[in-house]
Point group: D2
Chain length 164, copies 4
DNA sequence: TTTT
DNA sequence: TTTT
């Protein structure tokens, strides 16, 4: 049920503790930023170069819950998802943000032994709050989540739907 | 020589005839847009849904030349590259464009029998113009290439370097 | 629900018309062989070298049915699956066969315009035989479902044995 | 320079300390076995199932040296390579072994913090012996390397070439 | 802007 | 056994 292939495979380190929210239908959504670093030898100078790329990753459903529980700032993880660009507006100007979407067709895996540098016990699932507490269906003050790299609007201001 | 994996695999159809330009150092750069289409059955309504995603793909070097010669509007092709987001400015506002970069570490392949719907004979390499004509090292009037999907500045306004 | 990643991505041409069989539980199983060809320039002689690799691909379920209907000898297709080695015995000697398994976690896509060189009208689904004929749901001796996934002897008691 | 795609992506744990040998031309060859584990819920019984797959991985060149230095039994690593089946003979009977080949077009990466359970200090490169010592061009007693999973002959009995 |  |  598809024409075409749209696949992204990443291994990198998580830029900050993930924040999981819940859609009105109860589905979890977790946003993370992932850093991948390339290094190569400059052909001219022969010097070792390095470049870090930051990726916006959005996880949905079961994998979003697992990400929210197990990933921490610094965690190394594997991501398999698809590229998706969504449009948003700011000050009447259209902007575009490209994300790596991970849903039930994708995959996420925590790698390595210790999972990052957060205060929470690493590699141990966080105490799972009650979903209701965790994701109030009606959110009075949607707390702002600091957008990484690309100043894009977050999924916090939704009412019932997500703009993509 | 890398920490992390940053890999994109696409199969889709090219949105328009590719345009190949040459960097001052003689390296070819080809921009294409690639459409990948997903379809799935809506869980609620049971109806068949469809969504087309447009990807900005930038090819460098040898693979850029091959893309410029063989790809046409409508061509189905396989792309293996890496994700890269570059920053640019317009009216004093920072914007970001995410592209799939294909260089010597990536790969491009024309798929299927007939290569697209262009006027040129498909699957036949285009008459190769002289590189000098094609890519004057000193370009008085860098012709504008219409940006696809995301209104981003092109690689035409470079002096010697590309902003990534 | 996994530790580790086991992923195979192939684009190649089908070596012969696929043959679809049905397991006692009604699930379809299609076997194909897929040829991928590499070419490279020999460093010593500078000559163009070529090597064709043949892959055994086993598809299960829905994707097996689609493969059986649409693929033909010569069809170019995309395969996403996982590596699996199964053990079997011949003349008291253990042998091993490695296959690329495509199930609901994998994917298959017919590529290009014309689908191969078979006599059947290409790209048109084959006349679908009645499932009952094809796969009698009620089988006197439902041999134990040769678990697709686990190290099973073979996928049914076919006579033609497999040459690798 | 290719028709077709032949790509394998694995993340798993190394089954034993790697053994690196050197070809007469000085190129390194490292063999490892890699375990990937899948788990899934059985549809009938609802029980959690698990299956471990062992992969034979052969690395060549620079990446073979890095693998030999940094990988240890238990190390978690990422492998990107291609599928290759080679034929060999035993007691006049042809057999086939499928391997994942990693060369300069592929990639290998050590994952996680501590790299395995070997006695050598993990994550620290092994003391690098002198290449000459390491890889005598004429090897009087090619040490036998225990073949994993598939009882295939090793690359030890080569004179000048490798049988694939 | 592509394709089926 | 495929394909260009």
């Amino acid at each position: 049920m598809a024409r075409g292939v749209n696949k992204v495979i990443l291994i990198g380190n998580v830029g900050g503790d993930p924040e999981t929210r819940y859609l009105p239908n109860g589905n979890a959504v977790t946003n993370i930023t992932l850093a991948t670093t390339d290094s190569w030898k400059d052909k001219q100078t022969g010097q070792l170069q390095e470049r870090t790329e930051w990726h916006r990753v959005v996880l949905f459903g079961k994998v979003a819950e697992i990400a929210g529980e197990y990933l921490r700032k610094g965690s190394q993880c594997y991501i398999e998802g698809r590229l998706q660009t969504r449009e948003w507006e700011k000050d009447g100007v259209k902007r575009y943000t490209t994300e790596v979407v991970v849903d039930m067709n994708g995959s996420m895996q925590l790698l390595g032994g210790r999972g990052g540098s957060s205060d929470d016990a690493p590699r141990q699932p966080r105490p799972q709050r009650e979903p209701q507490q965790q994701a109030p269906r009606a959110q009075a003050q949607p707390q702002q989540r600091p957008a990484a790299q690309q100043p894009a609007p977050d999924y916090d201001s939704f009412d019932d739907d997500i703009p993509f």
